[in-house]
């Protein structure tokens, strides 16, 4: 899956991120920052159970 698809899918279906491992999260956060969409991503992920590190980056 390309990183753009990863971001699009996470924004459209936030619960799809449940399947992500550490490498997947790293890629998702990097592409979200590159596209200036980290705030939007954090908003969409709000309320989901996230790895502590990811929750910290979204806070």
């Amino acid at each position: 899956m390309s990183e753009a698809c990863l971001l699009v899918r996470a924004l459209a279906h936030p619960e799809s991120t449940r399947a992500l491992d550490a490498v997947g999260w790293t890629a998702l956060i990097a592409i979200a920052r590159a596209e200036q969409l980290m705030g939007s991503l954090a908003h969409r992920l709000d309320g989901l159970e996230l790895p502590p590190k990811v929750a910290g980056l979204c806070a």
């Binding site: 790293t26 956060i29 920052r33 590159a34 590190k53």
Partner: protein
């Protein structure tokens, strides 16, 4: 990213990617034994400024999550400096969990001594010297102030010694140094790895006790500084004070009210170390 390395530095995870092998090999040697984060906070990318610059007169553009688009590229031989600047840039532009103070920090018995000042004031050199003389080096570049608790967290990346400061560490084991980089935009630079205990204790925060404003090149003198001046100088020494808003204001005013501050002018480093020790002894009384 063809070559990559993940490094935990204090509470911050960094991932450094490079189009060339050499900078990553140099980083791996300098930062051997640092833990690797599973999910990093920030990514740094060392990339060719133009595609052909990977091969022809290789030059590094410092990229990553947060970038300065007009930064001048660096020569491949200065890869360690590029990586250091890339890490600093991510912290300076992207860090939101801590109030960032552009200050060196050392710790003794759980209490932190902070030193801030303009480039060339001697923060790095003093912190590195103290780190070899009984203090724990917490960082030569950033002190991370946790706003809710007032604790300072360490960011112990390798100290970048500049120009004549390189020669002050003759008694330190050679395997703790990175390669000597001549003719960088900041002069000659050589990185010094913190002592192993400083690396092992990188996640231990400390309560700040004393703030110093060292200044190199003047007659030895210690002066008191008023709280208003300390506050203004610290806002200038912070890269994310404005972005963090009211929480940063509350944390910084609390810091300034509680922590005594002194300005220290010094003509040479031995005098400076003695003055720092004296200021610390006065604080302890």
């Amino acid at each position: 990213m063809r070559h990559a390395l993940a490094l935990q530095v204090g509470p911050v995870g960094l991932r450094i990617g490079s189009a060339w092998k050499r900078p990553i090999d140099e980083l791996r040697a300098l930062y051997r034994g640092y833990p690797a984060p599973a999910i990093p906070d920030f990514t740094v990318r060392l990339e060719p400024a133009k595609p052909w610059r990977r091969f022809v007169k290789p030059s590094i553009f410092i990229g990553g999550d947060f970038i300065l688009p007009d930064a001048a590229p660096l020569a491949l031989a200065h890869g360690l400096l590029a990586a250091e600047m890339g890490m600093n840039l991510q912290m300076a532009l992207g860090q939101r969990r801590f109030l960032l103070l552009h200050a060196a920090a050392v710790e003794r018995e759980g209490r932190a001594l902070l030193m801030t000042g303009v480039s060339g004031a001697g923060k790095s050199t003093l912190a590195a010297l103290l780190g070899e003389r009984g203090w724990r080096l917490m960082g030569d570049e950033f002190a991370l102030l946790e706003m809710a608790t007032g604790l300072v967290h360490a960011f112990p990346r390798a100290v970048s010694l500049k120009n004549e400061a390189v020669g002050l560490f003759g008694d330190v084991a050679a395997d703790r140094f990175g390669p000597l980089m001549e003719d960088t935009p900041k002069g000659a630079i050589r990185h010094l790895r913190p002592r192993d205990d400083a690396i092992a204790r990188m996640t231990e925060p400390a309560r700040p006790a004393l703030l110093l404003f060292p200044r190199y090149g003047f007659e030895a003198e210690t002066r008191e500084i008023g709280q208003a001046e300390v506050f203004v100088r610290l806002t200038q020494a912070s890269t994310n004070y404005v972005a963090l808003g009211e929480a940063a204001f509350d944390a910084l005013t609390g810091f300034v009210r509680e922590i005594p501050a002194r300005a220290i002018d010094y003509p040479n480093t031995d005098t400076a170390v003695a003055m720092v020790e004296r200021a610390w002894a006065e604080w302890e009384r």
